[in-house]
């Protein structure tokens, strides 16, 4: 019994010192960026000893949650508008916002040779469901709508549209085959080798400049600030590029 108590006490002391040294960062991540973020977070944890706790969702939904007191300290959005909303609400640390990546939209199917490299499949309309993310809350969903509008196909495709709660659910709808195809983020399917996809020309939709912002809740958290800085480092940017994102102009000009 004594031994147990001793082990227990040691554990408590060891644990309390660990938590005192390493800080936790609560991060809200736009669903499209969750895979690279997990990789970046792991590297960051290894490099600094801090702990990163992520929650993914549609950017608009995450902002709504933060407006109502969700305890996130860092927010990686899929656009610029949503973090700007936090600025209007004065929930941010002023001047902390910057662009960390530029996203790309793809039309994707889990079936091989289903989507051609010009997106002509959209015109045949020979499918039951096309999945997009909820355009009201997810920037990638909004981008998908503008692409269909640009192709003058929105009216004919509308009855076939199914909406994922975030781009993550959208990918799940297509990945499980329940929707034959759908508009998802390149980062979600870049490692996919069996499906087929069409990279939508980037000037067909408003640029998906993805901004990160430090929230007031993280103002005194050194780890949160460190994470914001870490996103700008070469190893983090390598991961971002690896998942198909473009780097913002500040990063590409700095690197040279």
């Amino acid at each position: 019994m004594k031994l147990f108590i001793r082990i227990g006490l040691t554990a408590v002391i060891a644990f309390s010192t660990v938590t005192a040294w390493a800080e936790e960062v609560h991060v809200a991540v736009a669903a499209n960026f969750i895979k690279p973020m997990e990789k970046i977070a792991a590297d960051f944890e290894k490099a600094t000893g801090n702990k990163v706790l992520t929650a993914a969702g549609a950017s608009g939904k995450l902002v709504e949650q933060m407006k109502h007191g969700a305890p996130f300290e860092v927010f990686l959005s899929a656009d610029q508008k949503n973090p700007m909303k936090l600025e209007t609400e004065k929930l941010d640390v002023p001047g902390s916002r910057y662009t960390y990546a530029i996203g790309k939209l793809v039309l994707w199917s889990a079936q091989p040779d289903y989507v051609d490299d010009k997106g002509e499949v959209l015109k045949t309309g020979d499918f039951q469901h096309i999945a997009i993310a909820d355009p009201k809350t997810a920037p990638y969903g909004k981008a998908a709508l503008s692409v269909m509008e640009k192709m003058a196909l929105l009216d004919t495709l509308k009855p076939k549209i199914v909406q994922g709660d975030s781009i993550a659910q959208t990918q799940a709808f297509v990945g499980s085959g329940n929707a034959e195809l759908g508009f998802v983020a390149l980062s979600q399917v870049i490692k996919d080798t069996t499906g087929s996809s069409w990279m939508v020309p980037q000037d067909w939709y408003e640029p998906l400049s993805q901004d990160v912002i430090l929230l007031k809740t993280g103002e005194n958290n050194a780890a949160a600030k460190a994470l914001l800085d870490y996103l700008k480092t070469a190893p983090a940017q390598a991961v971002i590029k690896d998942y198909g994102y473009d780097l913002p102009t500040w990063a590409t000009s700095d690197a040279k």
Binding site: H129, F173, A179
Partner: protein, 225 residues
């Protein structure tokens, strides 16, 4: 106040719940009858299966339905073979999901009602040369009326409140799968609290009225004694 999409969601939900209640009464009555009278050793297993949606997280049910009804799933391949296409993201898919989800809410009140009647009235009816079917409709149904009432109201109300399963297999399509609870979720997540309030208050009043009707119409067992 409420917009067209909200009214669309209300109409869709009522349509879904009515259809599901009718199907559940048709499917649930024989199951409840069998459960009430069988001495088979399967009784425990079937009873547990019927009650499963009571304890199973809706997300789990939704996930299995999405996989089963999808193009690679057994149900999905069957529905594709008979020319129905796949069921997720369709009204038909929601009906099937809701029938499974609300099954115990219909079967259990009916089973209790049938068990309360016992075998004595059936035997009496048989001695009067009533056929089993005749016995069922002229003896059992009138006697089990409170059970049928409870089953219908609970089945209907529970379908109206369904959310988790719809979130998994619905696809949030206006007028097809966007039911009231989904619409409330959409409003809250986009900060449209006024509309969320109207719909939620409506659901609150509705739920209260349902229970009020249920408790007023069902005879109080304590008073009878």
């Amino acid at each position: 106040m409420l917009n067209d999409e909200d009214f669309g969601a209300i109409l869709l939900t009522l349509k879904l719940a009515s259809l599901v209640t009718v199907i559940l009464l048709l499917v649930g009555t024989p199951i409840a009858w069998w459960l009430a009278h069988t001495v088979s050793r399967w009784k425990g297993i079937i009873g547990a299966l019927v009650a499963l949606p009571l304890v199973l997280p809706p997300a789990v049910l939704g996930f299995y339905l999405l996989v089963l009804m999808g193009p690679q799933g057994a149900v999905g391949q069957f529905t594709k073979a008979i020319g129905l296409g796949t069921l997720p993201f369709t009204f038909g898919g929601l009906v099937i999901a809701s029938v499974i989800y609300s099954l115990p809410f219909v079967v259990q009140p009916l089973q209790n009602a049938f068990e309360a009647i016992g075998t004595r009235p059936l035997e009496v009816a048989a001695t009067l040369r009533a056929s089993p079917l005749d016995t069922f409709f002229s003896v059992v149904v009138p006697l089990a009326r409170p059970g049928f009432l409870t089953a219908s109201i609970l089945g209907f109300a529970h379908t109206i409140g369904e959310f988790g399963v719809v979130l998994m297999v619905g696809g949030n399509i206006p007028d097809k799968t966007r039911v009231i609870s989904m619409q409330i979720f959409n409003h809250v997540e986009t900060g449209e609290y006024a509309q969320a309030h109207w719909l939620s208050a409506g659901m609150l009043v509705f739920s209260f009225v349902v229970l009020l009707v249920l408790y007023t119409l069902t005879p109080n067992p304590w008073r009878q004694r």
